[in-house]
């Protein structure tokens, strides 16, 4: 008995010691950063923005690769089967990882994903084309109240952050609008500029991408976006809507906590870099800082919000 206890104790100590040693050397080689989407999207772009800073600060390469399929589900279903040594990391997205498992069996569960850090989000925003008669959010809601159902929004995807924002905004503003899902932000923006729809539920990034061709009416942030100092937040206009698509980095579940925390710290350091922040904000992104130890609370709050809106919008039963 004594012997067993002693062995177990030694084993535990060695394990802890070796984990600490591994964490001290981490990262000792290049990291494989898997994006569960195709190249060219926001997840890819922000990973690319992190790349040079990672190399500069920690001396190792972040090698971006893609594993697209099923709106990210293919990658996330495989994540926990990958080697948990901290050298394989994967992008994670909200509301995807909450809604997909709630809708159907996709091969993973939300709380099985070990998130190391949520590092930014693209806030939802209502965007109209530059020649639109809607100058303010009030113009838009007035039109919707006078013509129930006839205000048509384009947006990226069904059950996406854009879609959930539309559902919540309709409820908060007391209007009824129509949401048309498009394949990605690019297609949604094309429909907006082409006058196929009245307005778009897009992200602040669409505002920067479209430049003077479009006008942002309001952003779903706590404070105004530095890139759009003249655009009010929904909150300022009396609508309590702060939402968007959040992006983070997860590791396989088998990754030791020491390494996950170290990675979390590292991503946090990149996030704190002024030059990185400037690049992100210039692109229309907004920073958040949710390290590994705060993930559980953050996910819980967000899940509640997203699931409620999804039920409201008939996306979930």
């Amino acid at each position: 008995m004594n012997f067993i206890r002693r062995t177990m104790f030694t084993a535990a100590v060695t394990l802890a010691a070796s984990a600490a040693a591994v964490a001290a050397d981490y990262p000792g080689k290049a990291l494989d950063y898997i994006i569960p989407f195709g190249p060219g999207g926001e997840s890819d772009i922000t990973a690319r923005l992190q790349q040079p800073f990672f190399k500069e600060k920690f001396g190792q390469d972040l090698v971006v690769s893609y594993k697209p399929g099923g709106g990210g589900a293919v990658g996330w279903a495989e994540l926990n089967r990958l080697t948990g040594d901290g050298y394989t990391i994967m992008g994670v997205n909200l509301p995807h990882i909450v809604l997909q498992p709630a809708q159907k069996d996709v091969g993973y569960k939300t709380d099985e994903l070990a998130v190391a850090y949520w590092f930014h989000y693209t806030p939802d925003a209502i965007v109209v084309s530059a020649d639109s008669p809607f100058k303010t959010l009030a113009d838009l809601t007035k039109f919707a109240k006078d013509n129930p159902g006839k205000l048509v929004f384009s947006g990226s995807g069904k059950g996406s952050a854009n879609h959930l924002a539309q559902v919540r905004f309709d409820k908060l503003a007391g209007i009824k609008s129509t949401y048309v899902a498009f394949k990605g932000t690019g297609a949604s923006n094309t429909a907006l500029l082409g006058g196929q729809v009245n307005a778009a539920w897009g992200y602040t990034t669409s505002g920067t991408a479209l430049g003077d061709k479009a006008r942002v009416l309001a952003v779903a942030m706590e404070k105004r976006h530095p890139k759009f100092p003249d655009v009010p937040t929904f909150k300022e206009l009396g609508i309590d809507l702060v939402s968007g698509a959040y992006r983070g980095i997860a590791v396989p579940k088998s990754t030791p906590d020491e390494i996950r925390n170290k990675l979390s710290e590292m991503i946090g350091k990149i996030n704190a870099d002024a030059e990185f922040q400037k690049k992100m904000i210039d692109g229309g992104f907004a920073m958040v800082d949710v390290p590994a130890d705060k993930n559980a609370d953050f996910l819980k709050a967000k899940s509640q919000e997203f699931i409620e809106a999804a039920k409201e919008g008939g996306i979930l039963k």
């Binding site: 048309v180 690019g186 082409g194």
Partner: protein, 499 residues
């Protein structure tokens, strides 16, 4: 503009253009490795470069990859990239009868010409032409896809009914997985593998290449007819063919440019539309589908024209015209370069240097393409079957895996390949199936979106039948479907009257 011309002519830019085109051609020639992937791999390299160098390198590799797709199409009956689907229809029959070298040279000439037309449109008309991208709404994409499906009539060799059945099968296969718009999960039979649907590139490799491999193993003949004497590039002969088909060349290049501008379409649609247009306007004596050089000219000129066309909405509107453009747009963002109309005024030097660079890369494709094409042709022709079959089989598996780094794509590819081979024995061709697979999602998305907007605005009829461009596409579809029948009837009647 002249200043940027000089800037594009610096040794660094020319070397980048040359390297890009050569690497792109090699990548595009391997089925499974697409232009999007070629550009994506390059992105980290471009971070350290000034924006114009980075753009030229990415543009060169992109246009090279679109051209390289023709190699596998002609020599292995397998489109190296989806853009080269229509090239297989006449390119492979040419290679079969011993004219593979001629087909390769024609493909090179046509690609260069198409690429130049697209780049010229980008150079001179980008801001006005970008409006084309915006004039296409959901209803237009729906009708465009329907028009595309009507091409099955032109593509079915022999039986129209079998062509339609193949197209329907392709549409059904395109429904597998999470639906793009409604997010419904369809036809997965509870399998996680099928959630992401059937990848078009995997299907292309399976449906086109596996039957060729099975036939190679099951028949004693050589893969391609071997040439008896040294014929070189057959450049004079190829040039004569292209010159005779200059109208086809110009029309196809214009189709390619316009389709490239449309964000919802791409090189594969451009190639198929241009091909069927060439076929519709065939001169007597031309036998499309049996090794007609005009078929290769139409497909290859139009798909390379989509490169320049696709950059138009990308640079002017910040809306990617084609999937590789999306990657390039992302790389520009990392570089801190904003796209949009102001790009052409504020950053005019960068933009015009890039456009000239793309032009030179396209011109450099001529010597590079001729040399690489010659080498590829010689190695495939000279290779004994015992080496060719395992080499190609290995390549298809690696290529399919590389699409999404996913083994299940390989399984899907092989299963579809066997299905394709069996169907082929009964006279069902691969091209209508692939057409259904590519156009199915475009038609579905367009229909659902147009329907939703039409219902919201209480004008469903007007949504589908009241828009000028939609009406134009509908009329054109009817015309191309029924004109052969009407002309036939009219001919018979006038023959009767003469009697």
């Amino acid at each position: 503009m002249l200043q940027s011309l000089a800037a594009a002519l610096t040794p660094v830019n020319l070397v980048l253009a040359l390297l890009g085109v050569a690497a792109g051609t090699a990548i595009g020639a391997i089925p499974g490795l697409t232009a999007t992937m070629a550009v994506a791999v390059l992105v980290p390299l471009t971070f350290t470069m000034p924006p114009e160098n980075a753009l030229i390198l990415m543009g060169a590799i992109y246009t090279g990859a679109i051209y390289g797709g023709a190699y596998a199409a002609i020599l292995l009956n397998t489109p190296g990239t989806p853009s080269a689907i229509a090239t297989t229809l006449d390119g492979f029959p040419m290679a079969k009868r011993g004219d593979g070298d001629l087909a390769m040279t024609i493909a090179c000439l046509a690609s260069v010409a198409g690429g130049i037309v697209g780049a010229l449109a980008l150079l001179t008309l980008a801001p006005p032409l970008s409006k084309v991208a915006l004039s296409f709404g959901p209803a237009e994409y729906f009708w465009l896809a329907i028009f595309g499906l009507s091409l099955i009539a032109a593509l079915s060799e022999g039986s129209l009914l079998k062509g339609l059945a193949g197209g329907a099968f392709g549409l059904l296969v395109s429904c597998v997985g999470v639906a793009e718009i409604s997010a419904d999960v369809r036809l997965t039979f509870g399998s996680h593998t099928l959630i992401s649907g059937i990848n078009v590139v995997a299907a292309l490799i399976g449906l086109f290449c596996i039957p060729v491999l099975i036939d190679l193993v099951s028949t004693p003949e050589r893969h391609l007819k071997i040439e008896t004497e040294q014929r070189g590039f057959r450049l004079g002969e190829a040039f004569a063919h292209v010159w005779r088909e200059k109208l086809t060349l110009i029309r196809s290049s214009m189709i390619g440019t316009i389709v490239g501008i449309l964000p919802g379409a791409g090189g594969s649609v451009a190639g198929l539309v241009a091909y069927s247009e060439a076929r519709r306007t065939a001169k007597p004596g031309q036998s499309f589908g049996k090794g007609e050089p005009a078929g290769v000219i139409a497909s290859e000129s139009s798909n390379n024209a989509t490169v320049g066309g696709g950059f138009i909405p990308t640079l002017v509107l910040g809306i990617p015209g084609t999937p590789p453009d999306a990657v390039i747009l992302g790389a520009l963002l990392v570089q801190g370069l904003r796209t949009g109309p102001s790009l052409f005024t504020e950053k005019a030097t960068i933009v015009y240097t890039f456009i000239w660079g793309l032009m030179f890369a396209t011109i450099l494709m001529l010597p590079v393409g001729l040399l690489l094409g010659r080498y590829a042709y010689k190695s495939i022709v000279a290779m004994p079957k015992a080496i060719l079959v395992p080499a190609v089989a290995f390549m298809t598996i690696i290529g399919t895996y590389a699409i999404n780094n996913n083994v299940s794509d390989v399984v899907i590819m092989i299963v579809l390949g066997v299905i394709g081979w069996v169907l082929g024995r009964f006279g069902y061709l691969a091209s209508p199936i692939v057409l259904g697979l590519i156009l199915g999602p475009i038609a579905e998305q367009g229909f659902v979106q147009a329907w939703t907007i039409g219902v919201a605005r209480e004008d469903l009829f007007g949504m589908f039948f009241g828009r000028p461009i939609s009406l134009g596409i509908i009329l054109f579809t009817l015309f191309s479907l029924f004109s052969p029948i009407l002309i036939e009837k009219w001919k018979r009647r006038s023959a009767l009257n003469e009697r």
